[in-house]
C-alpha cells in the first residue's frame, strides 16, 4: 500500500503548527488566540497520527483522541473565562488585560 511519506506529513503538521503559532502572536482578539492555539494542538495531533502511521501503531491515534478531548475541555473553560473577561473589560482585546505587571 502506498503511503504518504512521513516527512510530508510532518512538514504539513509543522506548517500548521507554525501558522497557529504566528496567528497566536499577531492576533489580539482572545477568541482568535484560543482558536490559533487549537490549531497548534491539532497540528501536534496530526504529527502524532503521522508518526503512528509510520510505525503502524495505534498509539498515535490514541494520543490524537486524548488531544481532542483535552482541547475540548480547554475550550470550554476558556470560553467561560472569555465571557467573564468580556463582562469586565467590555472588550476581547487581549492587550487590555494588563492590570498586573511589573
Amino acid at each position: 500500500m502506498d503511503q504518504v511519506p512521513t516527512e510530508a506529513g510532518l512538514i504539513l503538521a509543522g506548517v500548521l503548527f507554525t501558522l497557529g503559532l504566528i496567528s497566536v502572536l499577531i492576533r489580539r482578539n482572545i477568541i482568535f488566540m484560543l482558536i490559533s492555539v487549537e490549531i497548534m494542538l491539532n497540528a501536534a495531533g496530526l504529527a502524532f497520527v503521522v508518526a503512528g502511521a509510520k510505525w503502524s501503531q495505534a498509539d498515535g491515534q490514541v494520543m490524537f483522541i486524548f488531544i481532542l478531548t483535552m482541547a475540548a475541555a480547554e475550550v470550554s473553560v476558556g470560553l467561560a473565562l472569555i465571557l467573564q473577561i468580556y463582562h469586565q473589560l467590555k472588550t476581547l482585546d487581549s492587550d487590555a488585560a494588563n492590570k498586573m505587571k511589573g
Binding site: A44, A47, D59, M63, Q84, N98, M100, K101
Partner: protein, 480 residues
C-alpha cells in the same frame, strides 16, 4: 489487574472517588464545612494508605505507570501539600462570597493530575496527568470570578498553558516519529543504540523543553508566573507554586534520568543556560518588587533555577538533593502563602508590602512564622531551606559544576535583599492598629493557624535535624 496493580493505584481511586463524592454531596446540599471535611479526610486517608501500603519494590503497570520509591515519595509529598493547601483554603474561602464547594473538586482533581504526572512513564500518561492538572488549575486560578485580576490571570494561564502544551505535544510527536515508542525506557534504549541523537529527536526534546519549562516557570518561559501568582487566590497560588511545579520537576527528573540526558551536551547546555538565566532574572525581577505575591513568584523562578543545579548534577545525590529541596520548598511556599491567605481579608489578598508593616509587633506569631519561611527561602541556617541549599550545592560541587554553584551563591546573596526587605518591613516600628477584618468565627482561623504552626515547626525541625528526612529520601530512592 493483579492485586498489586490494584493496591498501587488505590491512591488514585481514593482521589477520584472523593471528587465524585463531593459532586454528589453538592447536589444534595451545599455545605462548605462538609465538603471541606470530605476533602481533608480523603487526602489524609490517601496519604495514610500510601504510608501503610509501603511498597517494598518497584511495581510497573505497563505501559503507563511506574510505582517506585521516587514516585511514592513525590505522591506523598503532593498529598501532604494538597492537604496543607486545603487547610488554609477553608478560612480563605469562608470569608468570600463565591460558591466555594467546587473549588475542592478542582483541588482534588489537580492533585490527582499531579500524582499521575509523577508516576507516569509514558507520554500518554504524562500528557494525561499534565492536562488534568492544568485544566483544573485554569478554573482554580480564575475561581474568584468577580475579580478582574483573577479572570485575567486565568485567561493568561489558559492561553499560555495550552500554547505550551502544543509545543510539548509536537515535541512528543517528533520524538515518537523518530523512535517509534512513547515509553521513556524504550526511548532510552532506542536512543542508546544510535551513534548520535538524530536532529529530529533533539528538536522534539527542545520543543518538549518549552512545555516543561513553562510549567516549571523558568526563564524564558517564566512570564506568566508573576501575573498568575498575583491574580490567583492565595491558596491556589500556593498550590501552583508547589504541587504544579514540583510535579513537573519530578517528571523532568524521571524522564531525563530514564533517557540518560546527561550524555547529551546540547541538552545539558540548554538547561545550564536556563538555570543561570532563571536565577539571575528571577532575582533581579524580585529585587525592588513591592507586591509580596509577585516577589514570591519571581523568587520561585530563581528557586527553580537553583533546583536545576542539582538536577544537572544528576546521580543519586542530585536526585536526593532535588527531592529534599522540594520538601523544603514545598513547606516554605505553602507556609508563606498560607500566612498570606490568613492575613487576607474579604476584599483583597494581603499582598502589598504595606500590609506587613509592623506586623512583628501586632501579630508576633504570624510574623515569626512568616519570617522563618522567608529565611528558609533565603537559605539561612536553622531552617529546612538551608539544608536544602546545602544539598543542592553539595550535589553541584560533587560534580564540579563550579559555574553553576558559584552562580547559585551569588544569587543567594542577591536574593537575600528582597527577603530581608520583607522581614525589615515587618520589623518596622510603626504599629498601626489594623482594623479587625475577620468577621468570621475565630475558630475558623485555628485551623489555618495550626497548619502554619505545624509547617513552621517542620521547617525548623528539618533545619535542625535533617537526618530523618535525608534517610527517608535515601531509602525511598534506593528502592528497586
Amino acid at each position: 489487574m493483579s492485586k498489586t496493580d490494584f493496591l498501587s493505584v488505590v491512591p488514585l481511586f481514593i482521589l477520584t472517588s472523593a471528587a465524585i463524592l463531593i459532586l454528589f454531596s453538592i447536589a444534595v446540599k451545599r455545605d462548605h464545612k462538609v465538603i471541606y471535611v470530605i476533602t481533608t479526610v480523603s487526602l489524609a486517608i490517601d496519604f495514610i494508605f500510601l504510608v501503610w501500603y509501603k511498597a517494598t519494590a518497584t511495581w510497573v503497570i505497563e505501559p503507563l505507570f511506574i510505582f517506585d520509591g521516587f514516585g511514592t515519595f513525590n505522591t506523598g509529598l503532593i498529598l501532604l501539600t494538597a492537604l496543607a493547601v486545603t487547610m488554609i483554603s477553608y478560612a480563605y474561602f469562608e470569608q468570600r462570597e463565591e460558591r466555594k464547594e467546587e473549588y475542592y473538586i478542582l483541588l482534588i482533581l489537580a492533585t490527582l493530575g499531579a500524582i499521575v504526572l509523577v508516576i507516569s512513564k509514558h507520554f500518554v500518561s504524562l500528557f494525561l496527568g499534565l492536562e488534568i492538572l492544568s485544566v483544573s488549575l485554569y478554573s482554580m486560578i480564575a475561581y474568584l470570578r468577580k475579580r478582574a485580576r483573577s479572570d485575567e490571570a486565568g485567561i493568561k494561564y489558559l492561553i499560555l498553558a495550552a500554547f505550551s502544551s502544543a509545543f510539548l505535544l509536537f515535541g512528543m510527536a517528533l520524538v515518537y516519529t523518530a523512535v517509534g515508542t512513547m515509553e521513556f525506557s524504550k526511548i532510552a534504549s532506542h536512543l542508546s543504540s544510535l551513534e548520535a541523537m538524530p536532529v529530529i529527536v533533539f528538536a522534539g526534546f527542545g520543543l518538549m523543553t518549552v512545555g516543561i519549562g513553562f510549567k516549571l516557570g523558568v526563564v524564558p518561559f517564566h512570564m506568566w508566573a508573576a501575573d498568575v501568582y498575583e491574580g490567583a487566590p492565595a491558596p491556589v497560588t500556593a498550590f501552583i507554586a508547589t504541587v504544579s511545579k514540583g510535579g513537573m520537576m519530578a517528571l523532568l527528573v524521571r524522564f531525563f534520568t530514564a533517557i540518560d540526558g546527561y550524555q547529551y551536551h546540547g541538552l545539558i547546555l540548554i538547561f545550564t543556560i536556563i538555570a543561570i538565566a532563571s536565577m539571575f532574572i528571577g532575582n533581579f525581577l524580585a529585587l525592588r518588587q513591592g507586591n509580596v505575591k509577585r516577589v514570591l513568584a519571581y523568587s520561585s523562578i530563581a528557586h527553580l533555577g537553583y533546583l536545576l543545579v542539582a538536577f544537572l548534577a544528576g546521580g543519586t545525590l542530585g536526585i536526593e538533593a532535588v527531592s529534599f529541596y522540594l520538601v523544603a520548598y514545598f513547606i516554605t511556599s505553602t507556609g508563606a502563602f498560607g500566612i498570606l491567605a490568613t492575613l487576607s481579608d474579604r476584599d483583597r489578598d494581603a499582598e502589598l508590602l504595606d500590609d506587613y508593616r509592623g506586623l512583628f509587633w501586632t501579630r508576633p506569631w504570624t510574623a515569626t512564622m512568616f519570617t522563618s519561611m522567608l529565611l528558609s527561602l533565603a537559605g539561612i541556617p536553622l531552617t529546612a531551606g538551608f539544608i536544602g541549599k546545602f544539598y543542592l550545592v553539595a550535589a553541584g560541587v560533587r560534580e564540579h559544576l563550579w559555574l553553576l554553584v558559584v552562580m547559585l551563591a551569588v544569587n543567594s546573596a542577591i536574593g537575600l535583599y528582597y527577603y530581608i526587605k520583607i522581614i525589615a518591613t515587618m520589623m518596622e516600628k510603626n504599629e498601626v492598629e489594623r482594623p479587625a477584618s475577620n468577621e468570621l468565627n475565630p475558630s475558623v482561623y485555628v485551623v489555618s493557624g495550626v497548619t502554619m504552626a505545624i509547617l513552621t515547626i517542620l521547617l525548623i525541625w528539618i533545619g535542625v535535624h535533617p537526618n530523618g528526612m535525608m534517610v527517608l529520601i535515601h531509602e525511598l530512592l534506593a528502592l528497586d
